[in-house]
């Protein structure tokens, strides 16, 4: 290996360009990462961050540009090559095998074997256990990871990348599925790694996190370099302007005062998901946003899914507009005007092979029906309008959703529900992976919806968003709603206090 450039430089990208059919994803990107620094990579949804990282990882091939690792030019035909060169990536979309357990996932591709060529399970389990001990997370190593919560899976993903002992670690939105607490964990680990000289590229739409853990910042805009900054010498507003090209009104839309107390559109006097489990109750009023707050795994998603019939509930009573309704599957929920924006867009929300248009009109074809058939014209019109409203960045409504960036995919699912007649909307982590600019738009849209008389349940792990958006907040702990807060009681301190209380408090 010949080393000509500065010795402390871990990675240098020069003039990297990448074109997808119909999209110029990256044009002439330069990036330089030093050893032992945490380097933030920022940009709007679709700016090209993930694409750049995939090129670095050998998963995509750049059309132009060069990659230098520790001063010598490299090219990677596949991720295996990148791993061999000391690069580890935590992907934005999980890359885990659902039916294997955490140990098997972490060591996948490099299983330890004994002298008979058989797997040395004990050794692998030991080092996995050690890894998670260091991370400070509890993971059941024996069960298939599909039985773990999303956050736990995220930590398996993190553990997997860490176990590579990479010199350069890429973290593509790892905190999107973590609560601040767990994110804090992760930052501690990142600092330790930094102390050991590991270079990191950190991608996040939570700009406050950047200031907590990063050293330097590079910003992409529309696939091009938009600027670099030192963390000490910039602030959130400046970064946002660099990303978006304009200043953003990033306060939340004003809450209606006093809080709306229209008729009860949804009452759940009792719901028990599993035999012997906690019994909960809640209600939702016309025009309000009810927050479901709590730690990851506190059972918010489960309760919502159980309520609307997507999952089985052991016992439940649900009243819509005062009348009891049977909700045994999402179809019945939809028929009763209850819609869900699911937590995991790729798995539960989208048909990635479909176009933007099909995904948006998916459960709303009735509106476009002419003589029993789908009127393409009306469908196209409404899809175009809706995708514009949520700001989907795509070549057009006939683009396959699979080719959109993560954040833009999320926007497509939101657009689907904007166009729907449902009165009650359950938004599960609606802004996960959404950039700051778009977030503000989505908040605005949610308010708009409530002003039209719709009611929203917002499940969110982002406290500021809960505090800023919700008219009332149900705080979850251990599967129970331990408190319902309103008005001034909706503040981070109180929510966290309840969320971390033991489940039986009430």
């Amino acid at each position: 290996m010949t080393s000509s450039s500065a010795p402390e430089e871990m990675l240098r990208l020069e003039g990297v360009s990448k074109r997808f059919p119909g999209v110029k994803a990256l044009s002439g990107i330069d990036l330089s990462i030093r050893k032992g620094e945490v380097h933030a990579l920022l940009g709007e949804n679709g700016a090209g961050k993930s694409t750049l990282m995939k090129i670095l990882g050998g998963i995509y091939q750049a059309d132009e540009g060069r990659i230098f690792i520790e001063g010598s030019e490299r090219s990677f035909a596949g991720y295996a090559d990148a791993i061999a060169a000391g690069i580890g990536i935590i992907f934005q979309e999980f890359s885990l095998v659902p039916y294997l357990n955490a140990v098997e996932n972490i060591f996948l591709g490099r299983y330890l074997t004994n002298r008979f060529g058989l797997m040395d399970r004990a050794a692998m389990k030991r080092s996995a256990q050690q890894l998670f001990d260091e991370l400070g997370v509890q993971i059941d190593l024996g069960v298939p990871i599909c039985r773990l919560s999303v956050a736990q899976q995220q930590f398996v993903e993190i553990g997997k990348a860490l176990s590579l002992d990479a010199k350069l670690l890429v973290l593509d939105e790892p905190t999107a599925t973590l609560t601040p607490n767990e994110a804090g964990h992760l930052f501690r680990i990142m600092r330790e790694l930094r102390a050991r000289g590991v270079a990191m590229i950190f991608i996040s739409h939570h700009l406050d996190e950047i200031f907590e853990v990063c050293d330097r910042i590079s910003v992409l805009r529309d696939g091009a370099n938009a600027g670099h900054a030192e963390v000490g010498a910039t602030d959130v507003d400046a970064l946002v302007e660099m990303m978006v090209g304009r200043r953003i009104e990033h306060s939340f839309p004003p809450k209606p005062q006093p809080a709306p107390r229209g008729r009860k559109v949804l009452e759940v006097p009792e719901i028990q998901l599993a035999k012997g489990g906690p019994v909960n109750s809640f209600e939702l009023h016309e025009g309000e946003i009810l927050g479901f707050a709590g730690l990851v795994g506190s059972g918010r998603t489960e309760l919502a899914l159980g309520m609307m019939g997507a999952d089985r509930a052991h016992r439940k009573t649900v009243l819509r507009n005062g009348r009891p309704v049977r909700l045994n599957d999402p179809t019945q929920a939809l028929a009763n005007g209850i819609g869900l924006l699911p937590e995991s867009r790729k798995v539960e929300g989208l048909i990635t092979d479909f176009t933007v248009r099909f995904n948006i009109s998916m459960n709303n074809l009735g509106r476009h029906r002419r003589a029993g058939l789908v009127s393409q014209k009306s469908e196209r019109q409404s899809a175009a309008e809706l995708s514009k409203r949520v700001g989907v960045k795509a070549p057009g409504i006939e683009t396959r959703v699979a080719t959109l960036s993560g954040g833009n995919q999320q926007k497509v699912v939101i657009a689907r529900w904007l166009g729907h007649a449902s009165e009650v909307l359950i938004f599960d982590e609606p802004t996960r992976g959404i950039d700051v600019g778009a977030k503000a738009e989505i908040y605005g849209l949610m308010r708009e919806l409530t002003q039209q008389g719709k009611a929203i349940i917002m499940i969110s792990s982002e406290l500021p968003e809960i505090v800023g958006m919700c008219d009332r907040v149900a705080v979850f702990s251990g599967g129970s709603i331990v408190a319902t807060l309103e008005g001034d009681a909706i503040n981070s301190g109180d929510i966290m206090r309840h969320a971390t209380s033991s489940g039986s408090l009430q």
Binding site: A310, L334, F358, L365, G396
Partner: protein, 326 residues
């Protein structure tokens, strides 16, 4: 999913009819069909005659009709292995109704079709509501349907069908053999259903991501049920045509038809994993197989060698379409 086939008028900036055609799922199969036909024209005397062309369409018709339902099943990410047995069951049952009970074809044919729908509904119920895997459900009903056909007939063919019924297999309308017309009608209906009606959209959606489709409130189970009912129905249509063509209800007919239908669907560009494909491609796929059978017979290739050649061409076709998609 095939963007072009589903958007009769896409906003295609670089449109043009040929571009549109070239992008459609059915394009490559069509090229294959043309290529093989050209070869056959060169290799045989009589390939291009009107008689032989009808012959090919006629011989492809039964497989093509079965492949309609198979396309829908495969698009949802499923499969239907019971179609061959349904061909036998519907054919024998309809024949039995006419011969043993003297029912006129207008009554017997709907009964034959109904039995196909019933088997399809049973398949669909197991798949959609009991969440059993399609391949194994339809493998089981394949045995059951065949068993019923054999018990019903005692293993004998049912003979002595009225001429009005035989017309469905051998008759000519406007210069075209009736089975060909039935095939075309089936495809027309299927095209409308799959590309223009909400039903079709759901079929593609289920194959693309069943969980997401379910969570968005689509009645996934019901549409799956309908898809298998459709498959049972088209298999029964094929069974009626088959019985009319050989003017008897044969309990042993249709063994292996499921594989031919699957081949037609996949050769037609539909993804076996579901969610992507086009019904027009299936028709092309079925015709391609028909041309192959017919041409190899016409050339006089030994039946054994035919197996190898057919296998090779199926491979080649899939290979080329894969490469081209890259």
């Amino acid at each position: 999913m095939n963007a072009t086939a589903t958007h009769p008028t896409p906003p295609a900036p670089d449109g043009g009819l040929f571009t549109q055609l070239r992008r459609s799922t059915a394009f490559l199969p069509l090229v294959g069909l043309v290529a093989i036909s050209v070869f056959m024209i060169a290799a045989t005397d009589n390939f291009l005659s009107w008689g032989n062309l009808q012959n090919i369409a006629l011989q492809s018709s039964i497989n093509a009709i079965i492949a309609v339902g198979m396309t829908a099943a495969i698009l949802t990410g499923g499969i239907d292995l019971s179609v061959g047995a349904v061909v036998a069951l519907s054919g024998t049952l309809a024949s039995g109704m006419m011969v043993q009970f003297g029912l006129p074809p207008v009554l017997a044919v709907p009964l034959g079709l109904a039995v196909g729908v019933v088997i399809g509904l049973f398949n669909g119920y197991c798949v959609a509501y009991l969440r059993m895997p399609p391949i194994i459900v339809t493998l089981a009903t394949m045995g059951i349907a065949r068993g019923i056909a054999l018990i019903y007939t005692g293993g004998y063919p049912i003979d002595g069908l009225p001429d009005s019924f035989a017309f469905l297999g051998g008759g000519v309308l406007a210069g075209i053999k009736v089975p060909i017309l039935i095939m075309l009608a089936t495809y027309l209906v299927a095209y409308v259903l799959l590309n223009m009606a909400p039903f079709g959209r759901y079929v593609y959606a289920i194959g693309g991501n069943e969980e997401a489709t379910r969570l968005s409130g689509v009645r996934v189970s019901r549409y799956k049920l309908l898809v298998y009912a459709l498959s049972g129905f088209t298999a029964a249509v094929a069974g009626i045509v088959q019985a009319a063509r050989v003017t008897s209800g044969q309990p042993g007919v249709g063994v292996g038809f499921e594989l031919d239908a699957i081949a037609a669907v996949v050769m037609g560009g539909t993804s076996i994993a579901g969610g992507r494909g086009a019904i027009v491609g299936t028709l092309v796929g079925a015709l391609l197989l028909g041309v192959l059978n017919n041409g190899l017979n016409m050339i006089g290739v030994s039946p054994y060698l035919q197996l190898i050649i057919k296998g090779g061409i199926v491979l080649l076709a899939i290979f080329i379409s894969r490469e081209a998609k890259r």
